[in-house]
């Protein structure tokens, strides 16, 4: 009997046991499909977070108050040392001492309730800064204008606001040119920022950005600022820029020991690295859940295969009695198992690819190629091994033993 014949026999065997064949295929399909989709969801959500971080700005380094490290030690150090000042931001903008810095902007965070008649809102962030902030943080104005360096020098109370703030205060009306009162002090609105969306914790559109001079005079006072946003010339020179920032601040803050710095740097790259590693954990977890479902599916397949062979032991006996050799029987059952697991696996991959086109719990799944190969490989292996093993046992029975099998 040649290979082609065995395939014909296997197909005939599968068709003869239609329902069971379909169920086995379904089991494999679900296992493979769920692994692919779940891993894709994990991967997709991690990509999404990375995109959000990238949106925050490119080549950006944020200088914050407080020493390096975390926990109580870092906190106690927060109260010591020099605070960050607008002067630091001015020094960091110096092209000579910081050639790799494109621009820097001080950030002063205010907390205030803003009103327009009876409407009011508390912006998630109320930032006083310089115009360079917009480019460094990749914040774009889509309606109206940015404020200018002139506005900063003159301390004009102008503001660029986000969409949420605009709709809270002015509803559907065009906010440009209107006036809102923050802490009782009027700010005229000159621009509306591009929709940023929410990152899950903060509404990026609940936002007010004003000249730092105006914010300090009206709300926070001229003391310390919260942070300085620095943009490196390119991603390549980010490390050099960081070294320049450190040497400038070490000098102005009078720091001789690197370990006792009263500020710390947060760069986009390291933020990305941390979140990537956390979302990787998430993906691995989802993958583990999916792998368990594949395993359970595999046990189901094994069960069906075992039952199939046991139930067909008598049939195997008949086939041997009319002259089937061991090879022919083993071949038929192995090919049956292969077809089942291949078809189930391929359909599972198909379902995985189709399912990954849909948004799942707000995440756009992104398929991980290795998960496809792994799921497919495991399912085929399970099908072959657990279909092949009992078949080979049955094929070695003496015909009379197989025939007597009840």
């Amino acid at each position: 009997m040649n290979f082609f014949e065995m395939v014909r026999f296997a197909v005939r065997g599968l068709v003869a046991n239609r329902l069971r064949s379909a169920l086995t295929t379904l089991g494999i399909l679900i296992g493979v499909g769920s692994v692919i989709i779940l891993v894709a969801v994990g991967n997709g959500s991690s990509k999404q977070i990375q995109d959000n971080i990238a949106k925050l700005g490119t080549n950006t380094i944020t200088v914050m108050r407080g020493g390096g490290g975390f926990g109580a030690r870092a906190q106690s150090r927060n109260t010591q040392g020099k605070p960050l000042t607008v002067g630091d931001a001015v020094q960091l903008s110096d092209k000579k001492s910081a050639p790799n810095v494109k621009q820097a902007a001080p950030v002063s965070n205010a907390t205030s309730v803003c009103t327009n008649g009876s409407s009011s809102t508390t912006p998630a962030s109320f930032i006083g800064t310089w115009p360079s902030y917009f480019e460094a943080k990749n914040t774009k104005v889509v309606k109206g204008t940015y404020f200018t360096n002139d506005d900063v020098t003159e301390g004009r109370r102008v503001a660029v606001i986000g969409k949420t703030t605009a709709s809270d205060l002015f509803g559907e009306e065009n906010p440009i040119g209107k006036v809102m009162r923050c802490g009782g002090i009027p700010f005229s609105i000159v621009g509306l920022t591009e929709t940023a969306g929410s990152n899950g914790f903060l509404d990026g559109d609940s936002l007010i950005i004003s000249p730092i001079t105006a914010v300090q005079r009206a709300l926070t006072g001229y003391g310390n600022i919260s942070s300085i946003v620095v943009q490196a010339k390119s991603a390549k020179v980010q490390d050099q820029a960081q070294i320049e920032i450190e040497s400038i601040l070490d000098k102005s803050h009078g720091i001789s020991n690197v370990n006792s710095r009263d500020y710390r740097l947060l760069n986009q790259a390291s933020l990305l690295a941390t979140t990537t590693s956390t979302t990787k954990v998430f993906t691995v977890l989802l993958g583990a859940v999916a792998a368990i479902s594949l395993l359970v599916g595999g046990i189901g397949i094994t069960n069906i295969m075992l039952v199939t062979v046991v139930e067909r032991t008598r049939e195997i006996g008949i086939r041997k009695a009319i002259g089937a050799r061991r090879r022919a029987i083993l071949g038929q059952f192995l090919i049956e198992a292969t077809i089942l697991s291949l078809v189930g696996g391929i359909l599972g991959v198909l379902v995985g690819f189709i399912g990954s086109n849909f948004m799942i719990v707000g995440v756009k799944p992104v398929i991980v190629p290795s998960s496809v190969f792994l799921a497919f490989g495991v399912s085929v292996f399970i099908g072959l091994f657990f279909g092949g093993y009992p078949a080979s046992r049955a094929a070695s029975l003496r015909p009379i033993e197989a025939l007597r099998y009840e």
Binding site: R314, I322, G323, R325, R326, P399, L403
Partner: protein, 237 residues
């Protein structure tokens, strides 16, 4: 002892064959030293009480089972010297086996069932089809080719089984109580078929409990407790 065609070598030649189940006190001798020679063209009926070892003997003759001791030559070949694969070839080419419980492959058409032994012999699909159709025609089932076993009556199923046994043109047709599950009409039809097969020169061995079935055979062997106790040839008129 019967001696029908003495000048020929026996097709079945058993020497002191023993089949033992279990050991020691609880040992059962399903065959207890059976010696038997059957010559080509004979028509032999095996009778005996239930449990006397008839099926065991038939299974040994049909190469489905292996004796515990003794020698078995089929067509001059020492069966003990054959491996599993060679035994499968012998079963496929020399022996047609008919079971009391039909033993057709379930959910498979009558035609496919009859083609199966030819497929295992590696015969081409076209020739397979022609021979299977011919065998089914011989048993009068040309109008039931696509029916599956569950769609056939007992008698029809047994006829499919006979067609499957005959399609390979075996020298030896073995039947273990082939009429046990059939009514008198089907039994008569089947026995007519056996007569036909035997008339064509094939050796037929069948097990039966019914005297009138055994009557159709030319030689009757009686068994008791794993031994042959009587072996009579019909005196030909």
């Amino acid at each position: 002892m019967a001696a029908v065609v003495v000048d020929n070598a026996p097709i079945i030649d058993l020497h002191d064959v023993v089949k033992q189940y279990g050991s020691g006190e609880s040992a059962i001798f399903a065959l207890d030293g059976v010696s038997l020679a059957i010559y080509p063209g004979e028509y032999v009926a095996i009778m005996g009480a239930s449990g006397s070892g008839k099926s065991t003997l038939m299974n040994v003759i049909g190469a489905l089972d292996i004796p515990s001791s003794g020698e078995y030559y089929l067509d001059g070949i020492d069966m003990a010297s054959l491996d599993e694969n060679q035994l499968a070839i012998v079963r496929g080419r020399k022996i047609g086996f008919i079971f009391q419980s039909f033993n057709l492959i379930p959910r498979t058409s009558a035609l496919a069932n009859v083609e199966l032994p030819l497929a295992y012999q590696g015969i081409k699909i076209k020739e397979r089809r022609i021979r299977a159709l011919k065998a089914l025609d011989l048993v009068g089932l040309s109008d039931r080719l696509t029916h599956e076993p569950t769609e056939l009556s007992g008698g029809q199923q047994q006829r499919v089984a006979v067609a499957r046994a005959l399609v390979t043109k075996p020298a030896l047709l073995l039947a273990d109580e082939p009429t046990g599950a059939l009514d008198s009409k089907s039994t008569a039809d089947l026995l007519d078929l056996f007569d036909l097969v035997n008339a064509a020169g094939r050796t037929v061995v069948l097990i039966t409990h019914e005297a009138d079935v055994a009557d159709r055979a030319k030689r009757t062997i009686r068994m008791r407790d794993g031994k042959i106790i009587e072996d009579t040839a019909k005196v030909l008129a």
